[in-house]
Symmetry: C2
Subunit: 683 residues, 2 copies
């Protein structure tokens, strides 16, 4: 397996920067070759500008058409689908409309005995020129170096996606997470994201290995295709990106819990897929030609997965916490510009820090976004809140549409496509089964523990919403050096096209066909109608076991939630109960230093402000009170009140921490900010 | 004169992107050299991340310290000065604290007979590696290739400044221009920017040539230093950047006209200096060793200057106008995100378009910013207005502080410094005389034609505010290949340090020493006290000639203003008089199509909204009415009224266009939006 250099960067800046200036410099210098090189560089620079302009034109066109679509309430085609179509059109024009110019940078070969150097000095008629290593080229591909200039110009370095375009998309996903609904469904989301992605990866990988074996039998396969390649394909294609579906959900205000499940899954999914794919690459059995199972390598891979994931998570959380502390303990909020700049820099530094430490920047950025939204957001001034949100919204929008229009373009301009009908059909079948094999069984298992069931129509919708998008593309394009990877890339591209266009376009009909309610107020909670399935099952004989499961699964979450609410929130933000009441009395001084004076003053007001970000109990109690009522089959308002009271008594008796609080606790309780655990049972 | 390749880009992405991912890939691949290259690439990537982190740390520190300073109202050190100090400290640490590692990328030499290729294929023990041309290295500098790794990592490609950092700074300058005060002083600003910069460049260039001659005599000069190099230095150092002074002006609300003069000058100044420097580079007499005056080359240079400047201006204006039209004729303002994205893309495309056409992107971006602010801004939704402003404000802030902290760093990390005490002292004297030689004579000439005089203390303040900053640095670092350019770069760096720290710190004392009023409401107009000088001179014997000059100078501006107000504004925005009233009647259909219905509906309201952006006459009449009163020595309110009426009658009789308007005109007049020329005389 050839290991390509992953850092073929020099291509990028040409496009990214479109370097220039001092354009009109027409030197009549004596040395003719100097002039020629200068001219060539200028010409190349001009082409770079033109190719970047092409993309800007594409995006502008996309924006204008999106506006038309939104204006006329057309929902069958999402902006990303549109961006791809425009990309396709421009790709066709570039491919078949531009002449193949391959004259002036004919490669020069000179033999070296040693290993390659990163820097090369070449003596050309007395002048020294510096060359930098771009990467290895497999001997068969040498002719590819002399390809169409324009096509090469519009081909980005794959690392651009990982280092420039994905971070803002992922950060925005984390930063814009609807915290309340996300945390309410946290367990299910984690299950779908971790277990689901692993299952999907494994199933797709194995099915694809079957397909590959079949292709070998039929003679459709012309080069090597290992089992690890199949697994890698499974990991790549398991990153769902239901951007189209979510946009329509947002527009139609579809069910918030389903939205939270889908969005949360897709966000964490990306992180899991990214780390999973690197773990699979790390799964390299000792020796060159053994592609069989190797226990040591397998456990190493698992270790790598856990290591990278937890490391990246820590990095993201730590930078988020540092930002929260800085914004809390300085009066930076008087200067929104400084605050926004600091926020931006700290969030970016997460990425770099993770990369510098050998973790995955994109994953770190995701958790940084979540931490920033959970803590730092509360400390920001009102202006900075909207500034940071809008800044990342614009960056996200541009980056996402750029990736999708690039995908359209890549179908025609990418020079190493390998389309194999058998593999493509096999892949479509595999992703269908892969998605089915994790949505339905996992939902069944989760429903055993969930009070608020994931109903059948929700499950069908989740099954349907398994679109592939930016992350799958970025993972697939990252390494296209070998035959197998090229085939995987071409197939991924087609899967993205198909799912975004067909599945994306079918979302609105699907929603009405599955009877999923739309026009929901996000702050309102699901009505009993959705729980019909749950009522039927909830009264069954396994309700005893169900309760126990819930109790157990809630334990960890409860611990975290109380820790967050009693310690982290008060330390990191201006909200939450004063630390002087939650910390033991011997920490008095520290508690007074860390608690912001605002906590005492405007506790009420803050609770109002970030209702979206803290699970305040009034809200939760009503939610679960509601559900309880439904499960019990009664619906009178007095029952709800009883249920509420019962819950409150129970929780306060359970929670040991509460006893330490003392007199101050009563006041807090009466104000309604005391901690109530949403997942706990009051049967 | 060696011509270096201006596109040593491969350095940049390493820093900009900090490419990465799939970090934990520890391949036990068979080929050892592959592993080594991979490891090396990873190590390099890690170093890139670390060096970018260094800059982020620097900026974060700067932000926190700025906050402290602002919090405590410390004004002697501006954020940019602070960024430089932190940069200096980190530079010292990097220079003397890191070991000099120059082992692993030892350059390899192989001789080629022909001219250099852009791509090189190297055969290393059977494997092919692709290399790309990075640039030429002069034979004496070959050892520099093997320099300290860390120092090399923190050294950016000069083109980064021109292609990434300057555009947002310059665009923001154009976009945030206080239109009313800018246009009121347009003539003076243009004079200072064009004539002033040219004079300054020429004087500094000649003085420096004297210094260079002296150095040659004393034996301080070890290499060639031509007259054109001196002129180039003059152009580089003529770009003033009073960022520190303007920040203090803003904070203290110093006199708005002085602010407009300084800000306007510095903004256009940059554009002139950039184009001037490329024209000087283009001034290359035929033959290698003739550095004497060549009339043909001189006129070619002038042609190049005019060509680039007008071309870039056109590019910027055209993209601005296109954006205005798009935002006017679509209902994009219902979707602020789309609108902001479009605005951003269109503004960026100006840069690329100009570069692709061979003009100067930075200059185009400046005029695009002004056009966007003048027209497009009026069409944007309220949310997009704040979004675009804030977006570019953040980008500007980050880019500016980054450049200044990089400057601090460069003093120690740049490897080719040449500090010549004689040259440095000579340069300081030259910039002093260069500034004095354009501020005082130009002000004298302008005062002949200005009704609202530039008083002595204003002139002293302008003289004092001749700081050098980002643009001078960017121009100087662009080409540091030869001995003369290296000396110029080092000197520029010191001049920037000195002016930002000393002059910047002295702004507040200087303001009070010069009796320049602070705490001015920007919408208010200068009180008569400032016009004491004017009153004394205005009543002199040359008042007749003065009036004629004013009349003449106003002619062009009046023409433009009436064209803008009557045609451009109504076509490009939702404000201004309806086109149906300003266009001749045979254009009725076109006029109706182009006029937005809002014009008829909420003309009043719009006038209120963008009072900062259109010169509405109520405002102007009062301003100049005021001045007139002062000049006549009387101050009764009834005189003012008479003056107002007289003006209005006069202007309406003068303006031929007004006659075409017909009945609708009367209505407009009565509403108070009719055009009144501020600069015209009613004596």
């Amino acid at each position: 397996m050839a290991v390509p250099l992953r850092r073929r960067l020099p291509m990028l800046p040409l496009l990214l920067l479109a370097a220039g200036g001092l354009r009109a410099v027409e030197r009549s210098s004596s040395a003719m070759e100097e002039l020629a090189t200068e001219k060539e560089a200028e010409e190349s620079h001009r082409q770079d500008s033109v190719s970047l302009l092409t993309f800007i034109l594409l995006l502008t066109l996309t924006i204008l058409t999106i506006w038309l679509f939104k204006h006329r309430r057309v929902r069958f085609l999402h902006e990303t689908g549109l961006a791809m179509i425009y990309g396709l059109i421009v790709g066709v024009i570039l491919r078949y409309g531009t002449p193949s110019t391959s004259g002036h940078d004919k490669p020069f070969s000179c033999s070296q005995e040693d290993r390659p150097f990163t820097t090369l000095l070449v003596n050309v008629s007395g002048k020294f020129f510096e060359y930098t290593l771009k990467g290895e080229i497999s001997p068969g591909k040498i002719h590819n170096v002399e390809q169409n200039d324009m096509l090469r110009k519009v081909t980005f370095d794959p690392e651009v996606f990982f280092n420039i375009l994905l971070p803002p998309i992922i950060f925005h996903a984390g930063y814009s997470l609807k915290k309340r609904h996300f945390f309410r469904n946290l367990g299910s989301i984690l299950a779908y994201a971790f277990l689901g992605t692993a299952v999907s990866c494994f199933i797709i990988g194995n099915l694809m290995y079957g397909v590959v074996k079949l292709m070998k039998l039929v003679g459709q396969l012309s080069d090597k295709f290992y089992y690890t390649d199949c697994l890698l394909f499974g990991a790549i294609i398991s990153a769902t990106d239901p951007v189209t579906v979510l946009a329509i959900f947002n527009e139609l205000h579809a069910d918030v819990d389903l939205y939270a499940l889908l969005f949360g899954e897709s966000v964490l999914n990306d992180a899991v897929a990214i780390v999973l794919s690197s773990s699979i690459v790390a799964y390299q059995p000792t020796g060159e030609n053994t592609h069989a199972f190797d226990a040591a390598a397998f456990f190493k891979s698992v270790g790598v997965f856990l290591g990278i994931f937890s490391g990246s998570f820590m990095m993201g959380a730590v930078t988020g916490v540092v930002t929260a502390l800085v914004t809390k303990f300085t009066k930076l909020h008087c200067f929104p510009l400084l605050e926004t700049a600091l926020f931006f820099l700290m969030s970016w530094s997460t990425f770099l820090l993770a990369e510098a430490c050998g973790f995955t920047g994109v994953v770190a950025v995701l958790f940084c976004g979540i931490t920033q939204a959970h803590y730092t957001y509360n400390n920001l001034s009102v202006e900075s809140r909207s500034r940071t949100k809008q800044l990342f919204e614009v960056l996200h929008f541009l980056a996402e549409n750029f990736i999708f229009s690039y995908m359209g373009l890549a179908l025609f301009t990418f020079q190493k496509h390998i389309f194999s009908p058998v593999f493509i059909i096999g892949a479509f079948i595999a992703i269908f089964f892969g998605r089915a094999a994790h949505i339905y069984p996992l939902s069944f298992l989760l429903n055993l523990g969930r009070r608020h069931k994931i109903s059948w129509n929700f499950q069908h919708m989740m099954m349907f919403s398994g679109l592939r998008g930016a992350m799958a593309f970025a993972l697939a394009i990252r390494d296209t050096a070998t035959y197998s990877h090229q085939m995987m890339f071409s197939t991924t591209l087609l899967i993205v096209f198909f799912t975004v266009w067909i599945v994306g376009g079918g979302t609105t009909p699907m929603l009405s066909w599955l009877n999923i309610r739309v026009g929901v107020d996000p702050d309102q909670d699901p009505p009993p109608t959705n729980d019909s399935f749950q009522v039927l099952q909830g009264d069954g004989p396994d309700s005893e076991r169900r309760n126990r499961t819930k109790q157990e699964s809630a334990w960890l979450f409860r611990l975290w939630y109380s820790f967050d609410h009693n310690y982290l929130k008060p330390i990191l933000t201006h909200s939450g109960p004063p630390l002087t009441t939650t910390l033991p009395s011997w920490c008095g001084l520290v508690a007074r230093c860390l608690t912001s004076p605002q906590v005492y003053d405007n506790q009420e007001q803050l609770r109002e402000e970030d209702s979206d970000f803290i699970l305040n109990d009034g809200d939760l109690t009503v939610t679960y009170g509601d559900t309880t009522i439904t499960a019990n089959g009664s619906s009178g308002p007095h029952t709800a009140t009883t249920s509420l009271d019962g819950r409150r008594t129970k929780s306060s008796s359970e929670e040991a921490l509460e006893h330490d609080v003392g007199a101050a606790d009563h006041e807090v309780t009466s104000r309604g900010t005391r901690l109530v655990f949403p997942l706990e049972d009051n049967a």
